[in-house]
């Protein structure tokens, strides 16, 4: 099925990705991530001593602040903060620095669709830049379902508005492993076949009834394939920038 996307991409094609680390001088870790025209800046401060009142003092606490491009923070920003907090809590190793708080601040620079996945990617890169211990990386994609039933990846804002439904999916990254049978397995399946977060909006069919197409499962498949490419891009951009002739510590 040929679909005409406004910027002439194929349905499975992502927009150009640009990622830079250590962009802010004072933040302990920072990164800027852009997918096409959507650009998000993430800064990480911490770990700092002390947790908030309701948090468990035996684990590290992650605090997310979302700053929109214009206007004041409202309910939508609070929802994004909550989703981001839960996602980052599942990739950080919280037992290493108990009773500390790590603050992640997201600043939206420009929004052209797929804002939350872009923010999740930026936050993950910023956490790596700050040296926060992580279990694995998180890669986020947005899949949209058009009226005709076709699945499109990484929609722009105009495409998002026309869609019947869309979903943000966050996958663990693909890992290099020395184990012969691949990476660590959880209940028989490799870890990277799992999903960390899924946020859906709109109407999508899942069931088998009436021989309907399982749109949501299609989205997951396409998203997983795209996440492999993004994973490779993230790995390249996280390569160390130190000169190769480093001196050994005495």
């Amino acid at each position: 099925m040929e679909i005409d996307r406004i910027d002439e991409r194929t349905p499975n094609q992502l927009r150009p990705l640009i990622c830079s680390r250590n962009v802010l001088n004072r933040a302990h870790g920072s990164s800027s991530w852009s997918q096409g025209d959507t650009k998000v800046l993430a800064a990480v401060y911490g770990p700092k001593a002390g947790t908030k009142k309701n948090e468990n003092p035996e684990r590290a606490c992650i605090e997310v602040i979302w700053k929109p491009k214009t206007g004041q923070s409202g309910k939508l920003e609070k929802e994004y903060e909550m989703i981001l907090k839960r996602t980052l809590q599942s990739i950080c190793i919280l037992t290493i620095n108990p009773n500390t708080t790590t603050s992640v601040i997201i600043q939206v620079v420009s929004d052209d669709g797929a804002l939350l996945p872009c923010a999740i990617n930026a936050a993950c890169a910023a956490l790596v830049d700050a040296g926060i211990p992580l279990k694995h990386l998180a890669v986020a994609v947005c899949c949209g379902l058009a009226d005709s039933g076709d699945v499109m990846l990484d929609p722009t804002k105009l495409e998002e508005q026309k869609m019947k439904a869309f979903t943000y999916l966050v996958f663990p990254n693909s890992v290099f492993s020395v184990l012969p049978e691949g990476s660590l397995q959880v209940e028989g399946e490799p870890v990277e076949n799992g999903i960390i977060t899924s946020v859906t909006q709109g109407l999508m069919s899942v069931s088998f009834k009436f021989v309907q197409v399982e749109d949501y499962l299609h989205c997951i498949e396409r998203g997983r394939a795209a996440s492999a490419k993004m994973s490779a891009f993230l790995r390249r951009s996280l390569q160390s920038q130190l000169p190769s002739d480093t001196l050994k510590a005495g």
Binding site: N97, V128, K135, S174, L179, S183, Q239, L242, A249, G250
Partner: protein, 243 residues
Amino acid sequence: MAETRSDSPANFVDSSVVPGDVVLDISSMANQTIKLGSGLRQDCDAIVAMKAGKLRLTKPNKYWVESSQKRYVPCVEDSVLGIVVDSRSDNFLVDIKGPALAFLPVLAFEGGTRRNIPKFEVGTLLFVRIVKTNPSMNPEVSCTDASGKAAGFGPLKDGYMFECSTGLSRMLLSSPTCPVLEELGKKLSFETAVGLNGRVWVNAASPSTVIVVANALMNSESLSMVQQRIMVEKLLQNLKLSS
């Protein structure tokens, strides 16, 4: 999606890893002791990376991930620069750029007794040695070396302190001496204290020397050895022209 290497685990050594990479499979190494440094953790039978950086190995069995951050993870026997934040009856609270404040016992000085407790104001810069670290407790530091002598630890007066990354601190403390310090030392006279927590203190007779040395050290992070020497030459030429 996982790429597997059929060779021995030494394949990942000296290459970049990201969090989640399984770097070592210890189910095949029975009866061996492996030491894990920073950035690695054990997950059942596999060693997994927690930070992004280069995996290093010193023979025979010590593995760690080398990376450079702005914050510091306290390790025993490291010498760091701390700033006094508060003083209590039995210890000072010192900020060492780590997840928790460090405690400096009031008696942890050479010849320290209850009668001659030093009085440090808030903001005093101290060169201290880390004595104890535990995951959920505040680290403990001391102004003496292991045998109880002062050995250069204690408050640092005058001079100028700037912050840098932990990678730069390690480079400045590496042996043989790093090219920047060598070249500067040939022409200028100054003293430095490098803390492994990303703080460096410089002192010299005249302010212009302090500024030149501090700028040279700050700029040398991403330069190779040859580039460092060239940079220092240029800075010293500017200093001679203006003085």
